[in-house]
């Protein structure tokens, strides 16, 4: 079988930095080709070369697509041939409908007037094709991230697509949505569409990929034909980081002490729909030195629970009691929560965690300025020392602490956020998706930091949608579904199946009482 796409000896450098060196990469029709590698390994650069973002002439090497050498001047050239790239950050317009978004750039029209019947007809077709049951009129803002991702794919399919490039498509999806998306990919394979899947999630890659190429430092370091040989995650990780990681999760000596946080009968209502109870009278506790995981599907209420605890920064009509080190306290504001010794590392570090335009130093000290500002005047030298200290301790890779955080990689940004919260010297740290979108090496470092925190006697709560991660680092895992805890497992006893079963059993039992009620109303 001849390759649909053949990229030969591609090299590209930016101002002296070699981003790609002699990369060879080929994709066959009807193949799902996974491209893996640490952040900065050159995956995105390679895809930008392929899609014409970097025009012909700005790189070395050749691109052969469907038998001809191609020299793309820009992204329109590659799109015209059916090479469609879906970026990690979704590019949909929130206040427009699904149909308007799909046909944004090329609506079917007659004499310049948009043919609405045709738009709706084709939108329905496309939505059916990607398996999204929504009206074409639904606004994007009313859809969850998973469904938005499907709209992006429908949008790609509205053009003539021969090759689909997906950059971390499941990074912000929960397990169920990810599975649905991957199933779509497999359906496209049957239609002869070639797919390139960039992903950090090796279990997904293992599930769908026909071929895996591993990039490291701009070079192809491994190429695995999954049909011919079994996939070994360890081998992939080893080639990615060039480090034999016997364990993906660091060891820790566990010493669990007194309860440090105790939440009882906690109940929260939705801020916009105040009749909806989002957190349903839950009890939750963490002990000193303990790492507690909260598992659950997206929308289970995990983030809402954490934020409502953290100075009531989410929800209305909040009730229940919080005990910190045995003393009952009220946390009416974020400042009060921080003072009491609570820290919450947000799920979305760019939107909620960092001030991207500010430097590393200012971000680290933001939540505890008082420590470096006697009399409300900032002692810039004390501040610099603290920031440099955290930079060394957390191994934040930056040119100096005056570098803008927006320029750092995801893993280093996350370390800046962690530094900010460590500086507040919290008794309990809640980490919401602490490793989302960061590469394997940086993940390992974050796990090490979590271990150090626990060893120092702090209580750590980790909210994560990646079950292997929770299984790897937690002493105890609580399963949340639909605003309540529906299961709890000791770290050693928990398995992905048990967690999933707890969620699914609850999903079922949720629907049972309704049926029972209906039955009961009939005499």
């Amino acid at each position: 079988m001849t390759a649909m796409l053949e990229m030969q000896n591609v090299s590209k450098s930016f101002a002296g930095v070699q981003a790609l060196r002699d990369v060879n990469f080929s994709v066959q029709a009807g193949q799902i080709h996974a491209l893996v590698g640490e952040n900065g390994a050159g995956k995105s650069t390679l895809m930008k070369v392929l899609s014409g973002v970097y025009p012909a002439g700005s790189y070395e090497g050749t691109i052969v697509f469907e038998g001809e050498e191609r020299r793309f001047r820009d992204i329109n050239d590659s799109e015209a041939l059916g090479i469609i790239i879906i970026h990690q950050e979704l590019a949909l317009i929130p206040l427009m409908s699904i149909a308007e978004n799909i046909f944004l750039s090329h609506p079917p029209s007659k004499f310049g007037v948009i043919d609405r019947d045709e738009v709706y007809r084709r939108t329905r077709e496309l939505l059916a094709q990607v398996g999204l049951r929504e009206s074409p009129d639904t606004l994007i803002t009313d859809l969850g991230v998973g469904k938005q991702q499907l709209v992006e794919i429908a949008k790609a399919l509205s053009k003539r697509v021969r090759m689909l490039i997906l950059d971390e498509p499941t990074a912000s999806l929960n397990e169920a949505d990810s599975a649905a998306l991957l199933e779509r990919l497999m359906a496209f394979r049957e239609q002869g569409i070639g797919s390139i899947l960039i992903s950090h999630k090796l279990n997904e890659v293992a599930k769908v990929a026909d071929h895996i190429t591993v990039l490291r430092d701009g070079r192809t370091v491994d190429s695995i034909d999954c049909r011919a040989e079994p996939i070994q995650e360890d081998r992939i990780i080893r080639s990615m980081v060039n480090r034999d990681m016997a364990h993906r999760f660091p060891e820790r000596s566990v010493t669990i002490g007194e309860p440090v946080l105790d939440v009882a009968n906690w109940s929260v209502y939705h801020p916009i729909h105040p009749e909806r109870q989002v957190i349903k009278n839950v009890n939750f506790g963490v002990r000193r030195g303990e790492v507690v995981g909260i598992a659950g599907l997206m929308g289970a209420g995990r983030t809402e629970f954490a934020m409502s605890l953290f100075g009531r920064s989410w929800g209305t009509n909040i009730s229940g009691s919080i005990k910190l080190e045995g003393r009952e306290i009220a946390l009416p504001s974020v400042a009060a929560a921080i003072d009491a010794g609570l820290a919450y590392v947000t799920e979305d570090r760019k939107q909620l965690g960092l001030i991207l335009a500010d430097d590393v130093r200012k971000n680290i000290t933001l939540a505890s300025l008082d420590q470096v500002a006697p009399g409300r005047v900032i002692d810039d030298i004390a501040e610099l020392k603290v920031a440099s200290d955290y930079r060394n301790r957390m191994r934040i890779r930056c040119s100096d602490v005056y570098q803008e955080t927006g320029q750092l990689s995801g893993g280093n940004q996350q370390k800046v956020v962690l530094s900010k919260w460590l500086m507040t010297d919290p008794k309990v740290l809640i980490l919401d998706e602490p490793t989302r979108g960061i590469d394997v090496g940086a993940k390992y470092e974050i796990y090490c930091i979590i271990n150090e925190l626990a060893e120092a006697g702090r209580g750590v709560v980790v909210i994560s949608s990646e079950m292997p991660e929770l299984l790897g680092i937690c002493d105890r895992i609580c399963v949340m579904n639909d605003g309540a805890f529906v299961g709890e497992f000791k770290g050693a006893e928990a398995t992905q199946e048990k967690i999933m079963r707890a969620i699914m059993r609850n999903e079922r039992s949720n629907s049972v009482p309704e049926a029972a009620e209906m039955g009961g109303s009939q005499p």
Partner: protein
């Protein structure tokens, strides 16, 4: 932890140092270039002592308001009402002092308090009700323009008590024997200021050095200090050879120093920038974002009131047209000075330089006899150009 140690190149090269600083000082260099241009074009009139004093007096109220506007813009908002508020406060001041013969100190304080109340009223809607500041202050602009007319009943009101006039038209009293045309007290203050600035920056530099912090190259520092001292001395010399330091210049300098300090070195200043940079992240870091936004508007109200008083004292009469269009010059000054319309970025020094660029251009073009029509065209283009250059620089 992994046993891989991370060593990073620590050295910052001279080239990048100059490049970074060029960005910081870019507008200052533009100001100097513009001043030189007009100095040549006007045949030396621009920097004549009399004209320079006038330049200061003419622009003092823009500079004062630019300080408040900078904070508002840094939080990611805008205040369109400042011109109207300044005009309205001038009218109230006239009503109190001229019509009701209220003591000028009392009237002065009452006017500042009224300014604070106006700022609070507008800030309340913006901060706590999340109504876009553009709309709230557009409403405020109409309301206070109307109220100024109502208070004055469409007439001009004056003159003000002589002591009050001194706010704008007065000069600091001469304590030393006169030396020809030169005012020695003013000259002395200028010299002390120049020495103080150089001393402070030398001390700061050696303090940083003793803590092992990388500092600017010595030659760079020396050159900068000499230039700064010379500029201050030359400027005071010119001013001192007319009638000495105007009172309003003293107020202005004190305010610039105060706001410079607050924005760079205090917790509240840092928090204001954090709110503008990312309000959600700031709020989740325990910063009371709403209260800070509210306070920046209160502060703006007070400074708009002060500017209104200065302007009224300068004209020695309150007119319904006072303050018309000031907001545009003030906002332009902030943006020319490098503030970002998205919030989180902007420096006090920049806003002051921006205000001076506008002032020098107004003054220079008037001397050259360019009509008010083309003056506006040129100012508009300069605003656009300055912001374009800034955006371009940030992309690099």
């Amino acid at each position: 932890m992994t046993d891989k140690t991370v060593s990073l190149p620590e050295e910052r090269r001279h080239g990048s140092f100059i490049k970074n600083n060029l960005r910081n000082y870019g507008m200052l260099i533009s100001l100097i270039a513009i001043m030189l241009f007009f100095q040549v074009m006007t045949g030396g009139t621009l920097l004549q002592p009399l004209n320079l004093t006038n330049l200061v007096l003419q622009n003092s109220y823009i500079v004062i308001m630019a300080l408040g506007m900078l904070l508002v813009i840094v939080t990611g908002h805008i205040d369109l009402s400042v011109g109207s508020v300044a005009g309205f406060i001038g009218a109230v001041a006239a009503l109190l002092m001229v019509t009701y013969k209220v003591d000028y100190t009392l009237a002065f304080i009452a006017c500042l308090a009224l300014g604070a109340a106006i700022g609070a009223a507008q800030g309340y809607w913006v901060a706590y009700f999340k109504i876009p500041s553009f709309i709230v202050t557009l409403a405020g602009m109409l309301v206070f323009k109307g109220l100024a007319l109502a208070v004055l009943q469409g007439q001009s009101l004056g003159p003000f008590p002589p002591t009050f006039q001194k706010l704008s038209s007065g000069f600091i009293p001469e304590l030393l024997p006169e030396a020809g045309t030169l005012h020695p007290t003013s000259m002395l203050i200028g010299a002390v200021l120049a020495l103080g600035l150089v001393y402070a920056s030398a001390k700061g530099r050696s303090r940083e050095q003793s803590h092992g912090i990388e500092v600017e190259p010595y030659a760079f520092f020396l050159g900068k200090s000499i230039l700064l001292a010379c500029a201050v001395l030359y400027f005071t010399y010119l001013i001192a050879s007319h009638r000495g330091l105007p009172n309003v210049l003293v107020i202005m300098t004190a305010l610039i120093a105060l706001y410079g300090f607050v924005t760079r070195r205090t917790v509240i200043g840092r928090q204001i920038y954090a709110v503008g940079g990312n309000a959600k992240a700031a709020s989740l870091s325990g910063i009371k974002t709403e209260r800070l936004t509210f306070l920046t508007f209160v502060n703006m109200g007070v400074l708009a009131a002060l500017a209104g008083l200065v302007f009224a004292a300068r004209l020695n009469t309150a007119t319904p047209k006072a303050g018309l269009g000031f907001e545009l010059d003030v906002i332009a000054a902030c943006f020319i000075g490098g503030a970002s319309a998205y919030g989180g970025v902007g420096r006090v020094g920049g806003a002051v330089v921006g205000a001076m660029i506008m002032g020098v251009m107004n003054n220079g073009m008037s001397i050259l006899g360019i009509g008010i029509d083309y003056q506006q065209v040129i100012k508009g283009l300069v605003l656009l150009g300055a912001v374009c250059i800034d955006v371009y620089n940030q992309r690099r």
